[in-house]
């Protein structure tokens, strides 16, 4: 680990002003950042600790949603009775992520901003356009079992590892930020993460000195909420494919469906056309196939991850069958 200085922020504005300095990095839970610092993938010269800022509340919003402070720990969000009753998909997704110790530390804002777990991003002896722009992508022709099949580019095929963000994508959450000039901004979660394109090192639409302060959840949409995660072991592993589904149906007729996918792309993946195939459709193989085809439109495997295409197909069929059973 490289030497760094440490300061504790006493206000969000102070943290944002400190974060804009070259080499400065915000630390919240630190469960990803400290790992990356040990490997010198991240080499900040200054850490700005925001853990003692008052951003750790979960509050009701006037419209019947919830506002989740950026420093609410993943475990506390998953255990909150309002989240468990109204946003089961989010609670389940949080509980599917990492381990209990990590969830006790990891924050709402930090979870959204965690980096990919691509092996080559972590290995500083290998080329990686995300870590070292222009150096190439070792995953393209390497071991790419865990990599993306959608939204990839010739420069990067990494995935975003979050489970929480996938559920928030299905819920149409909004991300609140504050910048170093004290300006607040609201970003739909669909626009927070970017696809790699030619600049995989730029992962979000946040600007320098802009800090996530909260995530707001709209009122829960009608329907059954499910988070299904498929992984290499039963617990404490990242998703190969995961699906956050909110499906409203009665007696075999689907009214509406929201489907967000993890493990497939650099951001939580959602395809409006797939959801349109299910809206007002009979819950049967025909509509399930149509939706699946729409989700996988443009999907491309890179050898090791070819299996993700049929795995996504089967997992989605299973989730749709389970959520339309009543």
């Amino acid at each position: 680990m490289k030497a760094f200085t440490y300061q504790r922020a006493d206000s969000t504005a102070h943290a944002a002003a400190a974060a804009i300095k070259p080499g400065a990095k915000i630390i919240a839970g630190g469960t990803n950042l400290l790992d990356l610092m040990k490997l010198q993938v991240e080499t900040p010269s200054q850490l700005v600790d925001i853990n003692r800022l008052p951003l750790d509340k979960i509050e009701e919003t006037p419209d019947g949603g919830l506002r989740v402070g950026a420093l609410v720990r993943n475990s506390d969000l998953a255990a909150d009775s309002r989240v468990r009753q109204r946003y089961g998909v989010l609670s389940r997704a949080l509980l599917a992520g990492a381990s209990a110790q990590l969830r006790n530390k990891a924050t709402t804002g930090g979870n959204l901003l965690q980096r990919t777990r691509c092996y080559y991003f972590y290995d500083v002896t290998k080329p990686c356009n995300k870590r070292n722009p222009g150096s190439g992508c070792a995953a393209l022709a390497g071991f790419n079992r865990i990599h993306a099949i959608l939204g990839t580019s010739d420069h990067c095929i990494a995935t975003h590892p979050s489970d929480m963000a996938v559920a928030m994508r299905a819920l149409d959450a909004k991300v609140e930020t504050l910048n170093h000039e004290g300006e607040a901004r609201v970003i739909p979660i669909a626009e927070l993460h970017r696809l790699p394109g030619k600049t995989p090192e730029i992962e979000t639409s946040l600007k320098s000195g802009e800090i996530i302060t909260a995530v707001t959840l709209p009122p829960p949409p009608p329907g059954v909420q499910v988070y299904r995660k498929v992984r290499d072991r039963a617990s404490y592993a990242f998703a190969l494919v995961s699906i956050a589904a909110i499906v409203d149906s009665t007696r075999g007729r689907i009214h509406s469906a929201r489907l967000a996918f993890g493990g497939l792309a650099q951001k939580p993946w959602r395809v409006p056309q797939a959801e349109e195939k299910l809206a007002s459709a009979a819950a049967d193989t025909v509509s399930f196939n149509a939706a699946t085809n729409a989700v996988l439109d443009g999907a491309r495997g890179f050898g090791g991850n070819d299996f993700k295409i049929p795995l996504t197909r089967r997992t989605l069929h299973s989730v749709l069958a389970a959520t339309t059973r009543t």
Partner: protein, 121 residues
């Protein structure tokens, strides 16, 4: 280890971030020669072989039991809305999945935790 009674990974935090907070490691569990009930249970159930993971297993189990008493659900909890999920073997295994044992002493670790869970704290 436990920070203010909550389990976290000591390798993924900085001491300076916890200035002024209570930090409990395996060394702080026994009172003199009196072992903590979880330490006793690990000895009685042979919950280890090489011992490398044991400090983490025991500290984590203490945090896990405290979480369970407050009604924390887990990924394998069928009904997330139930306020107090029962601590079955499946629940213990899921909740302890962040502590990996290379000797695979898992059956005995689960037995030790079940015994300690029945003790008053």
């Amino acid at each position: 280890m436990l920070i203010e009674g909550r389990r976290i990974n000591s390798c993924l935090t900085l001491a300076v971030m916890h200035d002024g907070q209570s930090v409990t490691t395996i060394e702080g569990l026994a009172e003199g020669d009196n072992l903590h009930p979880l330490q006793t249970a690990f000895v009685e159930h042979d919950g280890f072989q090489c011992g490398y993971c044991t400090s983490g297993q025991i500290c984590s189990a203490i945090g896990m039991l405290a979480e369970s008493r407050t009604g924390m659900p887990s990924y394998v909890t069928d009904d997330l809305t139930q306020p107090q999920p029962e601590l079955t073997d499946t629940e213990i295994r899921e909740r302890m999945s962040g502590n990996i044992c290379r000797c695979a002493a898992y059956p005995n670790i689960v037995a030790a935790i079940k015994q300690a869970a029945r003790m008053p704290t």
